[in-house]
């Protein structure tokens, strides 16, 4: 018994490469985090592969087409009475998602302080920003489909593949945001009810990991699809 506890305390103290070797050669457990957190990270890793496949497909299509690729700066420009401002809606959406990432980070922090009211309200604010993001995306889709006539197989701006790529990538990301909003609301309600008083508030951090990942994916979509 005492020998066992010496080993585990030795384990938790070894850092860097030594700790890495010790963790991976230990008998019972490799990742010294709650299992839910390790599982969320592994899920996010698999999601990384899915999004990279989409973005790589886009890269391949855009590199091989002989028709001019539509200029996103102009396609996503929006006019508020005056001259159209390039990419403005996308910029606002980017800032909304970053703001929501900040409120999520605060929620995780408040969770570990066991401040239920603040944790739940920050999570609900995060969810509200997420819903706002999806709303703006719905507006953008509507504008493109109804006003501009963009279809997955054709569009008035240039290379016909533009529509397919746009709907698939932003649609899949929007679906992630929508699921995230539901996930946040559910966990926030359970926090408010006191479900995690005994179990601990790791769940808020795990939910946070998912939410930050959604923001992370948007960073890449913004760079490669909208700015490139």
């Amino acid at each position: 018994m005492s020998q066992d506890s010496t080993i585990s305390s030795e384990l938790s103290h070894a850092d860097g490469m030594k700790g890495f070797v010790k963790d991976w050669s230990s008998d019972k457990q490799t990742f010294h985090v709650p299992w839910g957190k390790a599982m969320m990270w592994i899920f996010l890793l698999s999601d990384t592969f899915i999004f990279t496949c989409f973005l790589t497909g886009y890269l391949n299509v855009r590199a091989s087409t002989r028709v001019e690729w539509p200029n996103p700066s102009e396609v996503f420009a929006l006019s508020f009475g005056g001259d159209p401002i390039p990419l403005i809606l996308i910029a606002i959406m980017t800032f909304i998602l970053i703001t929501s990432s900040g409120t999520m980070a605060m929620a995780v922090n408040m969770g570990y302080r066991k401040d239920r009211a603040k944790t739940a309200s920050l999570m609900l604010i995060t969810a509200a920003f997420g819903a706002m993001f999806v709303g703006m995306q719905a507006f953008e889709w509507t504008k493109l489909i109804i006003d501009e006539g963009v279809r997955p197989w054709s569009n008035p701006f240039g290379a016909p593949q533009f529509g397919a790529i746009f709907f698939m990538i932003t649609g899949f990301h929007g679906m992630h945001v929508s699921i995230g909003v539901i996930y946040l609301v559910v966990v926030a309600m359970k926090v408010l009810r006191g479900d995690y008083e005994k179990r601990g508030y790791e769940i808020v951090e795990i939910t946070g990991l998912y939410w930050h990942f959604v923001d992370l994916v948007w960073v890449f979509i913004f760079a490669f699809f909208y700015l490139w």
């Binding site: 305390s9 938790s12 850092d15 860097g16 490469m17 700790g19 890495f20 963790d23 991976w24 490799t30 990742f31 010294h32 985090v33 990270w41 996010l44 890793l45 990384t48 592969f49 990279t52 790589t56 890269l59 391949n60 299509v61 855009r62 590199a63 091989s64 087409t65 002989r66 028709v67 001019e68 700066s73 990419l87 910029a91 980017t94 970053i98 990432s101 900040g102 999520m104 980070a105 605060m106 995780v108 922090n109 570990y112 302080r113 054709s154 016909p160 601990g200 790791e202 951090e205 946070g208 990991l209 930050h212 923001d215 992370l216 960073v219 890449f220 760079a223 909208y226 700015l227 490139w228």
Partner: protein
């Protein structure tokens, strides 16, 4: 991490990163607004993208505070994706050259509406 519950860090760290993310996002939007083109544009986009992604993963997702065993298990595998990206980039260029050779410079026939 032992003895302490979960990932607790001073709020100031988060506020700093939050602010930085805003600034970097503004800068990447400015790349488009200022109308930079060519290699300058692509370089700036990539720099700002990696800075933002790095900050989100390291601080907001707490990766710099995790043990190496977890960090490498998650951050290691995506490296193989670079192989896929490289292969598809080569393939895309090859397809374009093939289209150029067999269909010529005229691009109108590829558009859905003649």
């Amino acid at each position: 991490m032992a003895g302490k519950e979960g990932q607790q860090h001073p709020l100031s760290v988060y506020f700093w990163v939050w602010g930085l993310l805003f600034v970097i996002s503004a800068l990447s939007y400015w790349v488009d607004y200022a109308g930079f083109q060519g290699y300058l544009r692509w370089t700036l986009i990539l720099i700002f993208m990696f800075l933002k992604a790095g900050l989100i993963i390291a601080i907001f997702m707490h990766m710099i505070w995790e043990r190496l065993a977890l960090a490498l298990a998650i951050l290691g595998p995506p490296i193989v994706l670079l192989v896929l990206i490289a292969l598809m980039a080569i393939e895309g260029d090859y397809t374009e050259i093939t289209r150029l050779i067999y269909f010529g410079e005229d691009t109108t026939e590829f558009l859905g509406h003649h």
